[in-house]
């Protein structure tokens, strides 16, 4: 078992906070939401987190997601105004130096590849777009992927490869990769099993497993079976097969809006519409083909309204950030008891 201790509450009275992103150095947090702007938070000399910067002149509607590039030099934001903005500090202050247009309506999520050469965006228009970053720092649309039949809620890149996963209102997760023989991006996998909207997905450290969550109030763990795998799981066209190896039910009372798989500790955190934050841990010596995960911590009423996002700090083990419809961002420290 373990405990989550509240370190600090950050609040600016500006409505629903949708999403958070830690800078790869772990020392800066970006937030976004209903107020149409992006806030950048960092510690002061006494160790308290403060709102240092507000980026206001990028979007005309809700900012749904923000995400730092792996190099930490770029911040990308997705908005209901159908645009994506790329912010950097080249001129000294943070400025929006590129606005990507093309989606027909709300952009709901976005993700950078590990190399920083690719950016993916997705929208209520059902499409996923892949943008290539040119040497001149321009963003060229490399692919428009129309594999989903409904809104695409979330896109996430594999932690090391140029493999993209997307989650949708059509209840599926899809995987995409570049196909050099075709010179185009293709859908190389469809993961079915959720009974309703898949709201979020998160890869583990190695990228060989993916956790998903959604409106059916379950968590699913999907495992990669590469071609020629020992288990004899059939694969097609040289692509890995992905199988659901674990389903966690009965823990959440409402829609699970977000899931974060820590790349340092292996812990999984969830953000739920029942106002709670929960932590799951993989059981020791489990069968890799049917692993067990146990709920080791629940904070009921972590927020006073729906929790929209949870994210583990990439540098400090156990440091978790959450945000909510109640307008608050909370920083938590997880301690496993008996350690």
């Amino acid at each position: 078992m373990g405990s989550l201790n509240l370190l600090q509450t950050l609040k600016k009275d500006n409505g629903r906070v949708w999403n958070l992103s830690w800078h790869p150095n772990g020392e800066v947090l970006a937030s976004c939401g209903e107020e149409k702007s992006i806030r950048i938070w960092a510690k002061d000399l006494t160790g308290k987190w403060l709102n240092k910067i507000v980026l206001t002149d990028g979007h005309k509607r809700t900012v749904r997601q923000v995400v730092w590039s792996a190099c930490g030099n770029y911040l990308a934001s997705a908005s209901f105004d159908a645009t994506t903005c790329i912010w950097d500090k080249k001129g000294g202050d943070f400025e929006c130096n590129a606005t990507l247009e093309g989606h027909e309506n709300e952009v709901k999520s976005l993700a950078w590849s590990k190399s920083g050469q690719l950016l993916a965006t997705c929208s209520r228009d059902k499409s996923v777009w892949i943008w290539e970053v040119t040497d001149e720092e321009e963003y060229d649309c490399a692919a428009v992927l129309n594999a989903h039949s409904q809104d695409v809620k979330k896109v996430v890149f594999h932690p090391t490869k140029d493999l993209l996963a997307s989650a949708s209102y059509d209840n599926t997760i899809k995987l995409f990769r570049d196909d050099p023989s075709e010179g185009d991006w293709i859908c190389c996998g469809t993961l079915t099993g959720h009974n309703s909207t898949v709201w979020s997905i998160s890869f583990d450290k190695t990228g060989s497993r993916l956790a998903s969550c959604g409106d059916d109030q379950t968590i699913k763990i999907w495992k990669e079976y590469p071609p020629g795998n020992q288990e004899g799981i059939p694969t097609e066209d040289g692509d890995s097969a992905w199988k659901c190896v674990c389903t966690l039910t009965g823990h959440h009372a409402r829609t699970i809006y977000d899931i974060s798989w820590c790349h340092m500790t292996g812990l999984i955190a969830t953000a739920c519409g029942d106002d709670a934050v929960r932590i799951f841990k993989e059981d020791d010596d489990g069968d890799p083909n049917s692993p067990g995960f146990s709920l080791i911590c629940t904070v009921d009423r972590a927020h006073t309204q729906d929790v929209n996002c949870v994210t583990w700090n990439p540098v400090i083990p156990g440091l978790l950030a959450s945000c909510s419809d109640d307008g608050e961002i909370k920083l938590w420290s997880f301690k496993e008891l008996g350690q």
Binding site: E34, T62, N105, R124, T197, D215, T304, D325, D326
Partner: protein, 159 residues
């Protein structure tokens, strides 16, 4: 909207409930007065039907006994009944109910608005859309849609 465009030209019209009499206990500030289904009903009964110059109460689209409220758990569940099973306005009606309750109730309440089971052809799709708070949030930032919803929600005095 002209008459020849109406999907349901002759809906059944029901009588309206009288105003709820307020009791002495309700005027006593020392008595804890929890929300009840009648109060939720009073919030949504005057919503205008998008097609007819009638309220949702008069068309029996909303009814007091199809409202469940749990003060302890902070949940409000409202079922609404479209007048015809292929009503194309069902999502708009549901959204109007949801928006009205979002604006009126304390934020601690979690509101669920669903079609009364078996009363609409696309029941599951309508319910899924109304339950998706991201879609609802985006709809509320759509100036055309919010105008239509506000027209439904606005209280019109009638003879």
């Amino acid at each position: 909207m002209s008459v020849d465009q109406l999907e349901n030209q002759n809906p059944d019209v029901y009588t309206k409930l009288d105003e709820r009499p307020s009791t002495l206990e309700e005027e006593d500030d020392s008595v804890v007065d929890e929300f009840d289904s009648r109060e939720i009903f009073d919030l949504i009964r005057h919503i205008n039907d998008p097609e007819h110059p009638l309220t949702l109460e008069q068309l029996h689209v909303v009814q007091e006994d199809l409202i469940d409220i749990d003060n302890g758990n902070g949940t409000v569940d409202v079922h609404f009944t479209p007048t015809i099973p292929h009503c194309s306005m069902a999502t708009l009606i549901g959204l109007s109910i949801r928006v009205k309750l979002l604006r009126c109730l304390p934020a601690r309440f979690k509101v669920r608005v669903e079609v009364t089971p078996g009363t609409h052809n696309a029941e599951l799709q309508v319910n899924k859309q109304l339950a998706d708070k991201e879609r609802v949030a985006a709809a509320l930032e759509n100036s055309h849609l919010i105008k239509v919803i506000n027209q439904c929600i606005s209280f019109r005095a009638r003879a």
